[in-house]
Assembly symmetry: C2
Homo-oligomer: 280 residues x 2
């Protein structure tokens, strides 16, 4: 089961940190550009430097897809360089009618060895079902996203609740099928994180938005974790992988990841489980 | 402008038919399987056989992506075999935070020569904006989808309206930016098509669900077209491309496409513009 694997790994590595590999030729250190295969070298160096502090890596599929065939090759090789004690999430935000979602699920959960995927809820249950059928994989459904556009629909009032709360309740129901659902809840919305955690006390949360997007890390950890301080992945991307653009970029990323993990663990220690204090 | 191009082409070809290329190795005629490159041969034969009756082809990206690198090669070669007087739509249903949507938009609207793309609304305006910035491309935003899961969220009551109506109103606003928005509205919901057309009298609609999914074709055409019988793409996929599995499959697809266009034009003629009657 994905949720159990995740929590065992969180305990083993004492980390909730998920590092996003939004690898972009325009943002990697210029020193790499004169080398052969700069994007792969960048990913490999970042993975190597941060893997001790990360419980998951999240590959933002848009960044690979936009490179066409070489991008898919980069994706494959990147997946091969991630050690087995780190989970790998396809941040794909796919979903379509059932026969099409089957194809998307097959791509990311069968052909490529991802442990989990992000999925959009707008088309409802039958569009999500083909993903849920991969029982050992984690299916993170968008609930409340970290961007400003979250206001447009996710905060619409549906009877007495907001749409995102409605999505959270549905996903709790959908989770009865195979116990492999999770929720994406942006770290930019700390009050709402608390509300969603109350609706879904045990689901794994994927929490983007605490780096460049400006979410409050301490509160995001406090409100996104379950009662034991587990079941949450705090995602950071640009703030870690582009921590520096000089030749020491990998070491800078390592320091940033280490520091983030310390801050996260401090919040787990303060609010959920004192045994995490001082465990850095 | 995409909407003008679309309507000019509809008038020139006297067709609202959009043919979906959901090409699947498990569904193509078995006679092709012994040949080299069966999927490309299938697509090429279908395009050749139906291009006279179609105003657009819609490539369902999931089916290409699921084949990994050979799938992207197939997509490129398929795009090259579509003549310039047929529009090409990327049925991708992407959208993410702004810097990520930029990458998705770049992939389908710049690197690949698609004329239009389908986009998911859940993440709101800033997730759609990077697509809208391609001023000459058509951006079809999911409004009311043809599948059963549409009930889960799209029919939630938001104050006095349903969520899908709210999405339609927002997209009418978003269209002020560059005049390049459209809506996906399933042909399985004929009453609602009428409602959405009232909210958005001039936007192009992409209408799936009238083939295997069982929508009523005559009413879907009646309610999805604008006041002149234009601005609608009636999408059919499996019912056309898999019309037969024998060696005459391309001719069967041609007959099915021809017949569908006749039925569509009859409905345009009956309800919107009598000059379309008898014009087959």
């Amino acid at each position: 089961m994905f949720a159990d694997n995740l929590n065992n790994l969180i305990l083993k590595k004492r980390s909730l940190l998920c590092i996003g590999l939004d690898t972009d030729i325009e943002k990697i250190p210029s020193i790499l550009l004169s080398e052969l295969d700069p994007l792969y070298k960048f990913n490999k160096a970042i993975i190597e430097a941060t893997k001790d502090f990360a419980v998951a890596f999240k590959l933002n599929i848009a960044f690979y897809e936009s490179l066409s065939i070489p991008g898919w090759e980069l994706l494959e090789r990147t997946l091969s360089s991630i050690p087995s004690d780190v989970l790998v999430i396809a941040d794909a935000k796919r979903a379509d009618i059932e026969n099409t979602s089957q194809k998307y699920a097959e791509t990311f959960l069968k052909s490529y060895p991802f442990d989990a995927i992000t999925v959009s809820p707008y088309m409802g249950y039958d569009s999500v079902l083909p993903f849920l059928e991969y029982q050992n994989k984690g299916i993170f459904i968008l609930c409340l996203t970290s961007n400003s556009g979250a206001q447009d629909f996710q905060f619409l009032k549906v009877e007495k609740e907001y749409l995102y709360q409605n999505v959270a309740r549905k996903v709790v129901e959908w989770n009865f099928k195979n116990g492999n659902c999770g929720l994406v809840v942006g770290g930019t919305h700390t009050d709402q994180l608390k509300t969603v955690r109350e609706i879904a006390p045990n689901l794994p949360f994927l929490v983007p938005g605490i780096g460049r997007q400006g979410g409050n890390l301490e509160l995001a950890v406090k409100y996104s974790t379950d009662s034991e301080g587990l079941s949450s992945l705090i995602a950071a991307c640009r703030s870690v992988i582009y921590a520096s653009s000089d030749k020491e970029f990998a070491d800078s990323a390592r320091q940033r990841a280490k520091h983030l993990r310390e801050q996260i663990n401090r919040s787990v220690g303060l609010y959920k489980n004192p045994s995490w204090l001082g465990l850095n």
